[in-house]
Amino acid sequence: MAKKTRITIDEYYCKGCGLCIDACPKGSLAFAERLNEQGYHPVECTDQEACTGCSLCYVACPDSAITIEKE
Amino acid sequence: MGDKILMKGNEAVAEAAIRAGCRHYYAYPITPQSELIEYMARQMPLAGGTFLQAESEVAAINMVLGAAACGMRVMTSSSSPGISLKQEGISYIAACRLPAVIVNVQRGGPGLGNIAPMQADYFQATRGGGHGDYYTPVLSPSSVQEFADMAPLAFEIAEEYRTPVVIFADGMLGQMMEPVVFPDSYAPQKDPSAWALGCKREGEFCNHIINSLFIDPAVLDQKTRELFAEYDRIRQNEIRYERYNLDEQPSILVVSTGTAARVVKSAVDALAEEGIKVGLLRPITLWPFPYQAVAEAARGVKKVLTVELNMGQMEQDVRLALAGSCETAFVGKAGGLVFTPEELTEIIRGYAS
C-alpha cells in the first residue's frame, strides 16, 4: 500500500505560473477553473493518491505556496 | 506646424530634442523617466545620432561632459536619486562652461522614496546641488506641450550662455499623454568651433583645452566672476513666467509651478466661478527665479500662497521676492501626493475669506 501523502497549495500565494505542474512526475497537479483574488488560476492537486511526496513541485514553486505532508 | 499627436511627456521631450538637433544622448534607466531613454533608444539611431545606455548615472553625466566638450547637442535624463549622483558632473560641466541639457523627471524622496510625481528637488536644481559657486538655468514645464517645447529652448539657452540647463519635470508630466504639436523648424546650433575639442587644424598654434582646475585662487575667483557675469545676462534675458487671472486685482496670489500649478489653475477657475478672485503666477524659469514678477503680482493682495509638491522649497524664493512686503503662507504635500482641484480650491478659499 502506498505511503499516504498530502499536498496543499495555498491559494493566497499561488500565482498560477504552472511551474509545479511541469515539475510533477505524476501529473497530479492542474490549474483550477476559478480565479483567485490576485486574478490567477491557482493550482490544485487533482490526484492526491498518485502523489509520491517527492517534493519536486515544492522545489519548483517560486511562491512557496506548497506544503507536503507524509504519514 | 505639424499635427497634434497624443504623446507621453517623456516621449514628447525626447522627440522634440531630436527634432531640435540633439544627436547625443547618454542615460541610465530609472522610473518614472524610462520612456525617455527607451524612446531615445528607438529613435536616435534612426536619426543617425548616438544613443548609449551608460553603466550608471555617474558615467552618463561624464559621457555628456565628453560630448559637450566636442560641441555636440547632448542630453541626459534621470530621476531624483540619479540626478543626485550626477551632481559632481554637473558642477564640472558648469565650471567648464559647456552647454548640455539635463532632464529630471522627479519622483518622491528623500532616499529611494517612490515613483510618484514630486517637486522636492527644487533646492538641488536651483541652488547648484553640486559643490562650488554655480547655478544652472532651470525650466519647469506644466504640460506635455511645454515639456516638449523646453527641449529646443534648453539647448538654445545652454549654447547662448555655455551652461548646463535643467528641465525640471516630474513623474506625472513624464507619464501622462497630452496632445503635442511640434514646430516645423528649430533654431540652429551656435557654432562651437572656437572652443570645442577636436577642432584643431593642422599648423594651428593653439590647442583647445577644457578645464575647471584653477590652482591659483585669484584665477579661480576671476573665472567665477566671469561665470557670474553670464548669470547676470541670463537673469536679464531669460526669466520666464506665466500670469494667470492676474489682470484684475486678486485678493490672493498663488505662486506655483509645474504639475502643482496645473491643479492651481483648476482651483483658480473654480474660485472665479464663486466670485473669489485668485491670481496665479507660475514661474517657468525656477532659476533665475522671477523675483520681480512675483513682487509686482503681489501688490495689493491679502496674502501670497506658495503651492508646491514638497515641504516648502520655492516658498523661500517667494519670501526673498517679497522681502516682507506681503504676508505669505505655504501649502504643500509631500511623498508624491498630488493635490486634487477640490482640495486646493477649499484651501485657497480658506485663505481668501
Binding site: 519548483a60 512557496s64 505532508e69 | 541610465y28 548609449l52 529611494l112
Partner: protein, 252 residues
C-alpha cells in the same frame, strides 16, 4: 502526518511581489531555507537592492536594509565590519551588481569582505521595465536595445564569475542555475555553503543564479525557463569559479 516541505520560516508570510513564475521567488526560498537550516535567521542581516527585489526587506524574516542602487556590497562592508557576529548577505540583480555597482562589487570581492552576495542574473532590468542589462545576450532585444543588443556598440554580456575569479582574495565564486528542480537542488547547496563559509569567517562568497524574467522577455514562465536553458547557460556556464576552501584542501 508530518510535514516534509513547507514555506520556510526564513521567509515572512508576505506574498512575494514578483510576477507569476519569476524565479526570484525560488532564489528567495533557497536563501530562506538555508538561513533556517543553519539557524541564522536571528543573526543574519540581508540587503535589498534596487530592482524587482527591492521589497525583499518584507520577504526575508531576518533583519533587512534597503540600499541605493548598486551599492549593496559597500553597505554590506559597513554592516559586517560593525557586526562581525552577524551573517551579512546582499541580494542583487544584474543591473544593480554589474552595471552601476561594478566598482563596489569588484572591490568588496578584492577585500574578501566576509559577506555573501546572491546575484540574480536575468539578463535584463526587470523592475524598470525591460531595459538592457550588462548581462543581456548578444542580439537579444530589450527596451533600450530595441534592435537587439549590438555587442560591437554596447559590449558583450558581462560574466561576473569569470571576472571576479581573476582576483586573488575572494573565497568562493560559483554560478548556479534555477532553471529546473534538479538545478535548484544544486543551487541550494551552493547557497548553504556560501552562508556556512561566512559563518566560518572565510570571506567573500559569490553565488550567481541564472534566472528568468518572463514578463520582460514576453514569455510564459515555462518558455522563459527553456529559453534561458538554451540561450543563457552556454554564455553563463554554471560551475565553481573559485573555491579557496577546496584549493586549501587540494594543497593539504
Amino acid at each position: 502526518m508530518r510535514i516534509v516541505a513547507k514555506r520556510t520560516r526564513g521567509l515572512t508570510s508576505a506574498r512575494l511581489t514578483y510576477c507569476p513564475g519569476c524565479l526570484h521567488g525560488v532564489a528567495h526560498r533557497l536563501i530562506g531555507e538555508s538561513m533556517e537550516e543553519l539557524g541564522i535567521i536571528e543573526r543574519a542581516i540581508g540587503i535589498a537592492p534596487v530592482g524587482c527585489a527591492v521589497f525583499a526587506y518584507n520577504f526575508f524574516s531576518c533583519d533587512m536594509i534597503q540600499v541605493p542602487h548598486g551599492r549593496a556590497p559597500a553597505v554590506a562592508t559597513g554592516l559586517r565590519r560593525s557586526r562581525p557576529d552577524c551573517v551579512v548577505f546582499t541580494y542583487q540583480g544584474d543591473g544593480d551588481l554589474a552595471a552601476i555597482g561594478m566598482a563596489e562589487t569588484v572591490h568588496a570581492a578584492n577585500r574578501n569582505e566576509n559577506i555573501t552576495v546572491f546575484f540574480i542574473n536575468n539578463a535584463v532590468y526587470g523592475m524598470t521595465g525591460g531595459q538592457m542589462a550588462p548581462t543581456t545576450l548578444a542580439g537579444m532585444k530589450a527596451t533600450t536595445a530595441p534592435y537587439g543588443r549590438d555587442v560591437e556598440d554596447t559590449g558583450g554580456p558581462t560574466r561576473m564569475c569569470e571576472l571576479l575569479a581573476t582576483l586573488e582574495m575572494p573565497w568562493f565564486i560559483t554560478r548556479v542555475s534555477l532553471l529546473s528542480p534538479k538545478d535548484i537542488l544544486k543551487a541550494k547547496k551552493a547557497v548553504k555553503k556560501a552562508f556556512k563559509n561566512n559563518l566560518d569567517k572565510k570571506g567573500f562568497q559569490f553565488v550567481e543564479m541564472i534566472s528568468t524574467c518572463p514578463t520582460n522577455w514576453g514569455m510564459d514562465p515555462l518558455r522563459a525557463r527553456e529559453w534561458a536553458k538554451q540561450e543563457m547557460l552556454p554564455v553563463f556556464p554554471p560551475g565553481v569559479y573559485k573555491d579557496r576552501g577546496a584549493e586549501q584542501e587540494d594543497a593539504s
